[in-house]
Structures are given as structure tokens and as C-alpha cells.
Amino acid sequence: MKAIILCSWGATSSSLAKNVNDAAKKRNIDIEVDAGSTIDFKKKADEYDVALLEPQVRHLKNEIEEIGKKHSVKVDLIDMQAFATFDGEKVLDQILSLIDK
């Protein structure tokens, strides 16, 4: 399983992605979470099962969803509080529930 967290430049998303990866390791879940910018996503959407948008790029959700549909990637917004506190556990839960859907 592979997921990606998107922000405008890939700056904040990398710290959050690290926390999610740590949380997954702790729970023994086989998942790889990358960080990236919304621009990169278009080129490598095929690699992922889930894409999460950070709140500052939420206005790009429609565009990303369209790309997601083409490559069967599930797209959602990250919860604002989970993002602000870099809560890896909460974001991991969100990714898992998206995959189950």
C-alpha cells in the first residue's frame, strides 16, 4: 500500500508523512507514505492508493480528485486539527478507513 500527503511545496507534508510512517511501523502496518507537492502528484499518481490534501491546498481538491479518478487513487482532505498537530496516528486511521471504503 502506498499513500501520499500533498501540500504546496512538499515542506509541511514531509514532517507529517514521517509521523504517519512512524505510527504505521509501531502498529506493524505495511504502508509507505510519501510527501509531495500537488504538481508532482499528477506525474506519479499511478503509484498510489490514497492521496491526502493538506488544508492549505484544499481549493485544489476537485482537480486532484479528477486525476485520482483516472488512476483509481482515493482522495480526501486531512482533518485540520490532525494536520496542525502533525498527528500521525489520526492521519493513519484516516488512510486506513479510506482504503477500506
Binding site: C7, A11, T12, I39, K42, E54, F83, A84, T85
Partner: protein, 434 residues
Amino acid sequence: MKNNSLMDWMENKLMPVLAKIAQNVYLQSIRDAFAIFALPVIVTGALFLIVANPPVSIEWGFIQAWARAIEPIQGQILIPFQLTFGLMSLMVAFGTAYSLASRWDLDDTITGIISMLSFLIVSFPATDITQVPFGDVLDYLGGQGLFVAIIVGIVTAWIMRLFTQKGLVLEMPAGVPPYVTRTFRSLVPFFVTTILFWAIEWIVWSNFNVTLPQLVLDLFKPLVAVSDSYPAALAQIVLMMLLWSVGIHGMNVVSSVAYPFWMTQLAANAKAAVAGEVLPGIVTEPFFHMFVHIGGSGITWPLVIMFLMSKSQQLKNIGKTSLIPAVFNINEPVIFGAPLVLNPIMFIPFILAPAVTTTITYIAFATNFVPRTIIQPPFTVPVFLGGIISTGSWRGALLQLINLIVAAIIYYPFFKTYEKQLVKNEMEALKDNE
């Protein structure tokens, strides 16, 4: 959060409009052209500019010795500056076309290359160019060619899209290796674009005796002058903060229009610095990123400290996660965690603090209390350091300190009101749990 008719209006009416602007592919591509393609050459070039122009206003012995030592070889030291920073328009021509083509699913690299070469064609006078001194052209490949570079990039991407969509390309039979197909596909649009810009350059030169970049620069001159005024700076900061208040990256959106103007000013300043003349430009990218958005958009460094010492558990947690990002001027955790987005209390200082510090910064530069910016450090350079690097003077750091104190004073009463409300909610939640 308490509901408020202004916040409702912002969420339901303002946000969709602003979001639409933020999603505009042209604006996004122009911004990427600067922030992704031109920025590396600007930052690299700046290093050599610092070496060639030591901050002689600081009267330390070693700086004076350094200035004397490099004097005879200043031209040589500036070679990497001229051919990186000095070629920023070339990068913008590539980047604009590349980013547009990439969004339109075209061959982005080829489109970028066609655009870059077309831009070179229009930058030369339509004469025997083997006789043209390179120095005559250099200015237009740098800060003075930005507007043409963007136009060439857009037109090239249009042509590429037109030909690809209408199938007006040389198609190879199936079985031909992909790289061969790629070459042939680009040939027709390549010829058309080259001929178009070559013709335009020739027509412009034979009628006006100037190159296309010079002509466009003359047309944009009034706009460039206006963009350097105080009302323009204030309008930019208010727009940035309005966008952030509804959760859209304000700097990204505003910079996509403002970047060519900021860069024109910065390049003019760098050129004047090299020539030892008075620096003309005030409103540049570091004007905002180094002196106003300290700790992140909306000068939130003071807020992070207030949060750290807050009685509200929520704010305290946000303060902890925001501390390290704040050092590097990143504040998304503050904006979305506090949250400052759609927050009827914090909305006021979130616009007021940056607006007031923009005013202070403008006055400081206009009166030459602080030397104007010649270097654009990456926006992540920490406070004080960034002020010194961008202006070459310790007064840059002093201005940052003044702005921080003023912002702290503006934020404090609103922070207190908001904190009180959160603490009350947290107490009630605690009681409910018991």
C-alpha cells in the same frame, strides 16, 4: 467556533471566487516558473553578488580588506552571477511553457525548450547577430525580459496544444520507437513557433528599432512603477491575508501575478549595486517574505510564543508543533491549528499586523533607513539572518525586530480574548466528561 455572518460570507461567497483564481492554470504556471525554475539561479547568483559586493557599510576590518582584495577582479567574480541571476528570464521562458504544457498533458520538456529558444530569438536585434556584443543582450535575458518571457512561454504552449490537439503533427507509423516519434511530433510546432517569433522580432526591430523585450518593457513601465508604490504593497498584503483567512495559500496566489514585478525590481537593484548606483526598487519578494511574513504568513512568530505559554491546552499543543516550523517561516500548523482560518476574533489582527508591518517596512526602505533589498534568500531563512542577507546590513535585522514587536502588540489583546473563549470551552468539556 462561534458563527458569524462575516465568516459565513467569507466561506460561502468569497472563498469560491478566490479558489477559482487560485486554480487558474496560467497563474499557477507563472508562479511555478519563478518559484521552481528561476529561484535556483537567483539564489545561486546571489552568492556571487555577495562575494563581489561585501557589505562595506559594516566597518569591520576584514570586510574592508575583502572589498579591497576583490576590487581588481570584480568582473570575473560576477561571471557566475551574470550567467545565472542574469539569465532569469530565460529560465522563466522555459518554466512558464513547461508548467503549462505539463498541466495540459503535452510534451513539457520540448515545449520548454522551444519557448526558451524563441525567447532568445526575440531578445536579439534583427541584424547580423554575430556582430552584437553579448552585454547588449544580457539585460533582456535577465530582469528586463521577464514579461516577454512569460508571454513567449504562454504562446508557445498554446501553439503546442493547438497542433497536438488538431493532430497537425508528423505521426509515425506504429512500431517506430517512442523517442523517434517524440522528435517528429515536435518538429511542426517547433518550426511554426520559431518562424512566428523570428517574424515578430524582425517586424518590431525594423519599425521601432528596439527588440521585443525593450518594447514590452516600455509598455509595462508605468505598471512596474505603480507596483513599487505603497498602495500596491498594501493591496498585495491585504489580498494575501484575505486569501489565508479562508485557508488559501495567499503568497502562492498573489505571487503568481506579482513575481514578475518583484523580480524586475530586485534585478534592477542588483544591477545598481554592481554599478555602485542608488537602488531603485522597494517592493520585492524579500520585502514580504523577509520583513512581513516573519515566522510564516501574517507575521505569526509572536503568536507561536504566546501559544506556548497559553493556558488553553489546544493552543499550547499547537505552539509546540509550530515552534520548529516557525524558525523556518512555515506556519501552516498555526494557521490551521489555532485556527486562524475563518476565525472571527483572530481575523482582525491576522490582517492588521501584516498590514501595519508592511507600512513600517515600506517607510524604512523609502527613507533609506534600511538599505533596499538586493538579495532574495530562500523564504525559509530564519529571522534576523534573513534581514541581514537580503539588505547586506544589520539594520535589516533591526527592522525585523521592530516588526516583530509591533506585531506582538497587535496580536496580544486578540489572542487573550480568543484564549479566554477556548479555556472556557475546554473547562466545560472537562466537566462534561466527569
